[in-house]
C-alpha cells in the first residue's frame, strides 16, 4: 500500500460522481452513487474513522440508496424519460459549478494549510471513543436528533399515504 492509494480512490470518487450527474438513466445514477459512496467509505477507513465508515456503509449505501431505488422503481422512472434541459442552461450550470470550484480552491489557497494529515490518536475514530464523546458532550443533540428522526418518519408516512377522503 502506498500513498497513491488515496489518490486512486479520490480519482474514483470524482469519476463516479461525474457519472452520477451525467448519466441519462436515473437508475444508473443511483448505482453510480452507490459506488461513489463506497469510495467514501474507503476514505473513512483510510482516515481510521471506523465507526463512520460502518455507518456510511449501512446508512447511505444501504438504507438511503435502497430508498432511492425503491422510489425510482415505484414511480417507474427507470427509463430515460427526462426531457433534456436546454444546452445553454447546461453550460450555465457547469460554468457556475466551475466558478464555485475555483472560488473554493482559491479560498483554500488563502487558508494556506498544507500540513499532512497525521493521525495522532489511534483510537480517535473508534466506536468506544466516539461513544464517549457522543453520550457526554453531545447528549442533548443526540436526544434531539431522535425527535428529528421520529418527526421525519411521521412526516414521510403522512405525506406518502393516500389522500384521506375528507369530504365523504
Amino acid at each position: 500500500m502506498s500513498i497513491s492509494l488515496f489518490y486512486f480512490i479520490a480519482f474514483l470518487s470524482i469519476f463516479f460522481s461525474l457519472l452520477v450527474i451525467f448519466s441519462k438513466n436515473p437508475v444508473h445514477s443511483v448505482l453510480y452513487l452507490i459506488i461513489t459512496f463506497f469510495t467514501f467509505t474507503i476514505h473513512y477507513i483510510l482516515l481510521n474513522a471506523q465507526f463512520l465508515a460502518i455507518v456510511n456503509f449501512i446508512v447511505y449505501m444501504g438504507a438511503i440508496m435502497v430508498l432511492f431505488l425503491f422510489v425510482l422503481m415505484l414511480l417507474n422512472l427507470n427509463k430515460e424519460s427526462e426531457p433534456a434541459k436546454s444546452n445553454l442552461l447546461k453550460i450555465a450550470g457547469v460554468v457556475a459549478g466551475m466558478c464555485l470550484l475555483v472560488t473554493l480552491v482559491g479560498s483554500m489557497k488563502v487558508l494556506d494549510t498544507s500540513n499532512p494529515v497525521v493521525l495522532q490518536n489511534q483510537n480517535l475514530g473508534l466506536v468506544k471513543n466516539l461513544g464517549k464523546v457522543l453520550f457526554s458532550e453531545f447528549l442533548l443533540p443526540f436526544e434531539v436528533s431522535s425527535i428529528l428522526l421520529l418527526s421525519a418518519m411521521v412526516g414521510a408516512v403522512l405525506l406518502a399515504k393516500k389522500e384521506p377522503k375528507l369530504y365523504k
Binding site: 500500500m1 502506498s2 500513498i3 488515496f6 470518487s13 470524482i14 460522481s17 452520477v20 450527474i21 436515473p26 445514477s29 452513487l33 461513489t36 459512496f37 467514501f40 473513512y44 483510510l46 482516515l47 481510521n48 474513522a49 465507526f51 463512520l52 446508512v59 447511505y60 438504507a63 438511503i64 430508498l67 432511492f68 422510489v71 414511480l75 427526462e82 447546461k90 450550470g93 457547469v94 457556475a96 459549478g97 466551475m98 470550484l101 480552491v105 483554500m108 500540513n115 499532512p116 494529515v117 497525521v118 493521525l119 480517535l124 475514530g125 471513543n129 466516539l130 464523546v133 457522543l134 458532550e137 453531545f138 436528533s145 428522526l149 421525519a152 418518519m153 412526516g155 414521510a156 408516512v157
Partner: protein
C-alpha cells in the same frame, strides 16, 4: 491499522479540501443541470458527503472527535431528509405524474 495509518501519513490536508471541493462542485453542477427531482436529490447527497469527508479529515487533523460526531449527526439528518424528501417527490409524482422540477412553476408572481 498500522499500515492504514502509514498510508495517509503523507496526504496533505489541502488535498482533502480539494477533493471535497471538487465533489461538492460536481453536486452543485448536478443540481443545476438536471431536471429530474430524484437526480437532483442525489446530487444533494453528493454535496452532503463531500462535507462529511472534509469534516472527518479535519477531525483527524485536529485530533478532535467532535468532527466525527458531527458527521454522525449529519448522517442522521440526511436519513430523515431523504425520507421526507422522497415522500414529497412521491406526492408530486402522484399529482403531476412527473418528477420534472420545471413542472412545479406555479409558485410565482
Amino acid at each position: 491499522m498500522e499500515t492504514v495509518n502509514q498510508v495517509i501519513k503523507g496526504v496533505p490536508l489541502n488535498h482533502y479540501i480539494l477533493l471535497s471541493a471538487i465533489i461538492f462542485s460536481i453536486g452543485v453542477v448536478g443540481v443545476l443541470i438536471r431536471r429530474n427531482a430524484i437526480v437532483i436529490f442525489m446530487s444533494v447527497e453528493l454535496m452532503l458527503n463531500a462535507v462529511n469527508l472534509l469534516l472527518t479529515a479535519f477531525s483527524v487533523y485536529h485530533n478532535d472527535a467532535s468532527g466525527q460526531v458531527f458527521v454522525f449527526f449529519i448522517m442522521a439528518l440526511a436519513a430523515a431528509e431523504v425520507a421526507v424528501g422522497l415522500a414529497i417527490i412521491v406526492m408530486i409524482y402522484r399529482n403531476t405524474n412527473s418528477t420534472d422540477v420545471n413542472v412545479l412553476n406555479k409558485l410565482k408572481w
